[in-house]
């Protein structure tokens, strides 16, 4: 795959652009990098308030971990979602936002999309590390599941990156894409069991089987279950879920980068 070899040859650029994203994101803020933790914490607090107290979601204790903290349960679904959301949104704007660079300098354009994803991966890893510490504090023991969790974080990144590649191109041709995708992401957020447990939907399996089947096609639904399994429940994820996300993520990534390569040459004209 020549994308890989291009990325390898420009890895210094990749590193530097990633650093630019990370450092530039919270420049001139008093709290600096702390914001990358405060933002998800604030969202988590809001959703905990709404779905933990106002609209009480019935969330059972982790099995077999015995954890029974709504905020932790929420975070295991919410943090991966935020990662996905940020990568897709950031990738989508990466061509348009760096138009001056694309018009003036040649370098493999993939670097812009990938560096955006890497900068969010960096943030996400910190968030997850904090979450893992909190899980230990509340008595969970996810140690043996952590390597697998890390692998799924990478796969989730690949999935988001693949979508990001396609949306980055689409957004150059149609600037509506970003607004359209913002709505789609909002819908997707509630179509994924993040603030409610999947059982809420699964109980309709017998009455509305087809709808539940479609609901389960959403790879993020699978990802969310997998992360809940390893981090909250502290057990192995199901083989079907795992295989499903591996295949979908890799297919989407390969497809995305193929689409990107196909259109990358014309970017300078279209911008």
């Amino acid at each position: 795959m020549s994308t890989l070899s291009e990325l390898r040859s420009s890895r210094e650029l990749l590193v530097n652009l990633t650093l630019r994203e990370i450092r530039g994101k919270y420049k001139r803020t008093a709290l600096g990098q702390l914001w990358s933790l405060l933002n998800p914490a604030a969202q988590m607090a809001t959703y905990s308030l709404v779905f933990g107290f106002f609209l009480v979601s019935r969330v059972g204790p982790g099995n077999p971990s015995g954890l029974h903290v709504f905020a932790i349960w929420l975070s295991t679904g919410l943090l991966p979602w935020l990662f996905f959301n940020n990568v897709v949104t950031g990738a989508m704007g990466s061509m348009v936002n760096n138009a001056n660079l694309i018009l003036k300098v040649y370098f493999p354009r993939e670097v812009l999309v990938v560096s955006n994803a890497l900068s969010w991966l960096y943030t996400h890893v910190i968030e997850m590390a904090v979450l893992v510490v909190v899980i230990y504090l509340f008595g969970g023991n996810p140690t043996i599941y952590l390597p697998l969790t890390a692998l799924f974080v990478v796969l989730l990144g690949c999935f988001a990156l693949g979508l990001g590649f396609m949306l980055a191109i689409a957004n150059v041709y149609f600037r509506d894409t970003q607004h359209f995708v913002a709505i789609a992401l909002q819908l997707l957020f509630y179509m994924t069991p993040i603030v409610y447990p999947p059982s809420v939907v699964e109980k309709y399996k017998n009455t509305h089987g087809a709808l539940v089947y479609i609901y389960k096609l959403n790879p993020l639904e699978r990802f969310s279950e997998i992360f809940r399994n390893t981090l909250y429940d502290n057990r192995w994820p199901s083989l079907t879920n795992s295989l499903y996300v591996v295949i979908v993520s890799l297919v989407v990534l390969v497809l995305g980068q193929a689409v990107f390569r196909r259109f990358a040459g014309a970017l300078a004209e279209e911008l």
């Binding site: 650093l19 001139r28 001056n100 660079l101 003036k104 300098v105 370098f107 041709y173 149609f174 509506d176």
Partner: protein, 424 residues
């Protein structure tokens, strides 16, 4: 040359001229198409080689496709047909400081921009001091670049780009940056670059610098290659053509252009005795007399003369504003002299150009290209080659061995005396 640095092969590039452009989805769906457009050729079947180690210029009017071609060479645009093969690492100075992040410090941006241009971290570290000093921003290098003045910003951008040290450097109209001091430094850097055998491709509207800096020039018009050759030939042809609507071809083969309020009727070359001549000798006292006719009164006119060899080497020019001779006004017919006490030109054929311009030297009343051609015959000082005659003298032989016959010093001196006698 057998092994060009850049080979441009049948490159064509069309752009779409949009009558309406539907970048919104709704409009695209409603109209069932994304846009209505006409194609136009920015480049049409352009082919040429750029020899390794030369400075190569692209000239043409605005919209002639030269910047498009440069972007095709830089790989920013992809040609529709044909291809560009470049052999060697390449850096493009299309816009200085593009890719700087305003919130990051100068130092961080040097690393960022360097890596965009293809440098490794270790290479940038090795050159960091040179880059900072060249840009003259050491004091501010750890400040965010958004606080930089526009000059500092551009200087830092240039400094990074030029220190990338590529085999091929592409430059688009960016030389007009910075103050005179920085410009000199840039020119020096370009000269180093050329001496190091690197290839430079320039796009510029400054014909004077294109002529002096480039070895070869390609002239583009409406996307097609109109001329390719030595810079003086092509630049002259281009300048003549761009004046074509106003240019008048004279019976004697010379050309003129200008607004015509004042005209140069003729230029005479007067020899030592004051009589018109077409042949003078090296070392002679010569007077160039410009005869003019001003229909209206013209305030503070500036007269100019320029010399070229017939092969097109630009030798000399002098105008009367620099000569601090500016008459308050001229009207009617008259003449003005430029006295040259000693003609420091070696033997050869020379063309003289003459002009009358306004005091700002931007408005041309009359420009006579090649108004008179004259010969310079060998005389004394007789020197071995070139255009200028410096009147240099060999002598002062110093040796350590003692048994050398002394004498040549004296012979030269006495011959000089003899020459001085016959020459005066």
């Amino acid at each position: 040359m057998a092994d060009p640095a850049i080979r441009v092969e049948n490159v064509s590039k069309t752009f779409r001229m949009y009558k309406e452009r539907n970048q919104s989805l709704k409009a695209a769906l409603m109209r069932r198409r994304r846009a209505a457009f006409e194609e136009f050729y920015a480049l049409r079947n352009v082919s040429f080689d750029i020899p390794r180690g030369t400075t190569f210029g692209l000239i043409g009017e605005n919209g002639s496709g030269k910047s498009t071609l440069l972007k095709c060479i830089a790989n920013i645009l992809v040609p529709d047909t044909g291809r560009v093969i470049a052999d060697g690492s390449m850096a493009a100075l299309l816009e200085l400081g593009s890719g700087f992040h305003p919130e990051l410090s100068g130092r961080e941006n040097v690393f960022l921009n360097g890596s965009i241009l293809g440098l490794r971290k270790s290479q940038i570290e090795a050159k960091l001091d040179e880059i900072i000093d060249f840009a003259g921003v050491r004091q501010f290098i750890d400040q965010p670049v958004k606080n930089y003045s526009s000059g500092m910003y551009v200087r830092l951008g240039f400094s990074v780009a030029i220190n990338v040290d590529p085999d091929i450097l592409l430059v688009d109209e960016v030389l007009a940056v910075g103050d005179a001091n920085f410009q000199d430094k840039c020119m020096e850097k370009f000269a180093d670059f050329r001496n190091a055998g690197k290839t430079v491709v320039l796009v510029s509207h400054a014909m004077g610098s294109m002529r002096s800096m480039c070895d070869e020039v390609a002239w583009l018009k409406h996307g097609e290659l109109l001329g390719l050759g030595s810079s003086s030939d092509i630049v002259d042809a281009y300048v003549d053509e761009s004046r074509d609507d106003e240019i008048i071809h004279m019976a004697d083969g010379s050309t003129r252009y200008g607004s015509g309020e004042a005209q140069i009727t003729k230029v005479e070359i007067l020899d030592q005795s004051g009589s018109p001549a077409r042949r003078v000798r090296t070392g002679d006292a010569v007077t160039f007399r410009i005869h003019f006719e001003a229909k209206n009164s013209i305030e503070r006119p500036v007269f100019g003369l320029a010399l070229e060899t017939v092969s097109g080497v630009y030798v000399w020019a002098h105008h009367s504003r620099d000569g601090e001779f500016v008459p308050d006004q001229i009207k009617g017919t008259g003449s003005v002299d430029l006295r040259v006490p000693t003609l420091y030109l070696q033997a050869g054929n020379y063309d003289l150009h003459a002009s009358i311009v306004d005091f700002t030297t931007t408005h041309i009343f009359d420009f006579r290209h090649g108004i008179i051609r004259f010969d310079v015959l060998a005389s004394s000082p007789h020197e071995s080659g070139g255009v200028a005659s410096l009147g240099g003298r060999w002598g002062n032989l110093a040796r350590t061995e003692s048994d050398v016959v002394e004498a040549p010093e004296q012979t030269v001196a006495s011959r000089n005396a003899a020459v001085a006698e016959t020459g005066s």
